[in-house]
């Protein structure tokens, strides 16, 4: 939009590319000329199937992977591929699909968050404790969870912890990579509502990576659809889902099971 063009974007991704060298010397282009912008406080969905490059794109922005082409501007600075400063690492946080894999199995919940706070902020010990309680409350956990180990929490609770840990660092951008995909439906709704509420309370921007179009519809105003490493469609989420212009997007939308839906078979099966 023209009016918004005057305010600089929080995140500007330009011609991002990532090529993996496979054993045997072949190249795999995972991300190809991807460009998009994200404003402060905005929520952008990256939609696609496995192999579409959506997770690789997110990981490059989070600094977990380095790009082989293109540039990323964040908050007016150009981000290097990896080895970022501690402050820019703080400003972009990421929540993964499997919270069990991203929590230290031997560290109690509160101790883990305190460690993070100590690393990035100058807090007194008592202020740290108070902030931990506040953060746990913010994600719907109580004091009784503070001294638990991750394995004693349910999947939904662990994902709440992962979100609390990300929020602890007061990031400007939260990258959520299939953050609600592994959860049971009844719990998924809780976490989804939590994410919606956090956006209403704070100025955090979301980059929401998901294969689930219904979930993206609830969380993101704008979305991009990726296929084979490229953006095939971009725009308002409602427009993309209701009136897809790209053939691949239409296939994705048609594949969502709903009342009266019949599974469809393509003519030729590919390898």
């Amino acid at each position: 939009m023209t009016t918004e063009a005057e305010s600089p974007h929080l995140l500007s991704v330009r011609d991002l590319g990532k090529t993996f060298r496979l054993p045997g010397g072949r190249d795999l282009v995972a991300v190809d000329a991807v460009s998009f912008d994200l404003n402060a406080g905005e929520s952008l969905g990256i939609v696609g199937e496995s192999g579409s490059g959506k997770t690789t794109t997110a990981r490059i922005i989070a600094g977990l992977e380095s790009a082989t082409a293109g540039s990323i501007d964040f908050g007016g600075r150009t981000l290097g591929g990896s080895g970022r400063s501690r402050s820019s690492a703080r400003e972009i946080q990421m929540v993964f699909q499997d919270p069990f894999g991203s929590l230290d199995p031997r560290q109690r919940i509160a101790a883990g968050i305190e460690e993070l706070l100590g690393l990035h902020f100058r807090f007194s010990k008592s202020a740290r404790r108070a902030r931990v309680t506040e953060l746990l409350e913010e994600v719907g956990l109580g004091a009784q969870h503070a001294d638990e180990l991750p394995r004693n929490l349910s999947g939904g609770q662990r994902q709440r912890v992962a979100i609390a840990r990300a929020l602890a660092l007061e990031p400007e951008l939260l990258i959520l990579d299939e953050a609600v995909s592994a959860l049971d439906v009844s719990v998924q709704a809780q976490i989804l509502n939590l994410l919606i509420d956090i956006r209403e309370r704070t100025e955090i921007a979301y980059l929401f990576v998901s294969h689930d179009l219904a979930v993206v519809r609830q969380v993101c105003e704008r979305s991009i659809v990726m296929n084979h490493g490229r953006i095939v469609e971009a725009g308002a989420t409602a427009d993309i889902l209701d009136r897809p212009t790209n053939a691949y997007t239409r296939q994705l939308v048609d594949a969502i099971p709903r009342p009266g839906w019949r599974p469809k078979r393509r003519l030729n099966a590919a390898g």
């Binding site: 009844s186 709704a189 989804l192 509502n193 219904a214 889902l241 099971p257 099966a269």
Partner: protein, 351 residues
């Protein structure tokens, strides 16, 4: 034979059971305690469901609901030390009373199984051809060349081109969607009368899911084969099955025709599941069910859903309701008569 004994002097209502392909009645499964001194763990409290020949039944539930354990009970492949009570009849034959020989014939030729993760159920060191023909040749149903021909034929039917080449390949050379089609072929090889599919598309992308479901549906219909489709996805199950059984914490809480149950749920848990899905056509805050799904062994003496149910009364917490017929379906809820036609709406309002 058990079937003959039971056909004499049976009540009229039970006589129809003879026509069913699969009849599970008041199934209960317990596992040995994890530690000494603890009690046995109940993983299935009370499961009753039926499949007529050629019928497809969707079994829907969240983690810990006992849906996978139910399929393992049907195959009699429960963990060691498990004990099972209730009735389990396949085509009028008592599965629990089967001898080893009968059981091996039953598993080998009557029931086909498709799992969620095809990679975990194929041998990476053996070709797909070996994998596909092993069962039917070992059981003496077919000769090797005959089995190979059938395998190629079936692979072509499920849309795998160049079948003659594929059967010499190894699992890692195929994509997940393609390998799941090979699993479908595997299940169909002995021409089973019932296929058990446990989350067969959960690990697949949506477009591939659509395709695999279409292929599975085609094959099942053509053969007049029964299908038990296990899934966490109520929308998917409602779209591809004739009837549904909704499970929670080891109990079937509601069963009925799929369209009917999906459009007007009568059990609060079914309504809660429908209310908590994100809406795919508009922005609407999902209504979450508070708490987390309970496992069967955590359930108290009352209704298994009582701790998360907005309508629960004292009676619900103390006394477990049995399935009873309401509006052409079976519902396990004390208060079902009090609810109106739009229970999903009532559930949202109550939260």
């Amino acid at each position: 034979m058990t079937a003959n004994d039971r056909s004499t002097g049976m009540p009229a209502e039970q006589a129809s059971r003879q026509d069913l392909l699969l009849a599970i009645e008041r199934l209960q499964v317990t596992l040995p305690p994890r530690r000494r001194g603890e009690a046995r763990r109940t993983v299935i409290h009370d499961v009753s469901m039926q499949i007529a020949p050629g019928e497809s039944l969707g079994v829907v539930g969240e983690s810990g609901s006992g849906k996978s354990m139910t399929t393992r009970a049907v195959m009699r492949l429960l963990p060691q030390g498990a004990s099972m009570t209730g009735r389990l009849d396949f085509d009028g034959q008592d599965v629990m009373g089967m001898s080893r020989r009968e059981l091996s014939a039953y598993r080998g030729s009557q029931v086909g199984m498709i799992y969620q993760d095809p990679r975990a159920h194929t041998n990476p060191l053996r070709t797909l051809g070996d994998f596909l023909i092993e069962g039917v040749t070992l059981s003496g149903q077919m000769r090797r060349t005959e089995a190979e021909e059938l395998a190629c034929d079936l692979l072509r039917q499920v849309g795998v081109g160049d079948a003659g080449h594929r059967i010499r390949q190894y699992p890692h050379q195929l994509s997940g969607g393609l390998l799941q089609r090979v699993m479908i072929v595997m299940a169909l090889m002995p021409s089973p009368r019932l296929v058990l599919a446990d989350e067969p598309t959960t690990a697949l992308d949506v477009t591939i899911q659509s395709e695999v479901m279409a292929i599975l549906g085609e094959q099942i219909r053509e053969r007049q084969c029964g299908l038990m489709f296990i899934t966490h996805d109520l929308d998917l199950a409602a779209a591809v099955t004739d009837s549904l059984a909704v499970m929670y914490a080891g109990v079937v809480v509601e069963t009925g025709p799929s369209d009917n149950l999906y459009s007007s749920p009568r059990h609060p848990y079914t309504a809660g599941l429908l209310a908590s899905r994100p809406h795919s056509e508009r922005v609407e805050r999902p209504t979450a069910i508070p708490g987390r799904p309970l496992s069967a062994f955590e359930a108290g003496p009352g209704c298994v859903f009582a701790s998360r149910c907005p309508f629960a009364t004292q009676q619900c917490h103390e006394q477990r309701p049995a399935l009873r017929e309401v509006d052409g379906r079976n519902v396990a809820c004390h208060r079902v008569e009090e609810f109106g036609a739009d229970l999903t709406y009532q559930f949202k309002e109550a939260q």
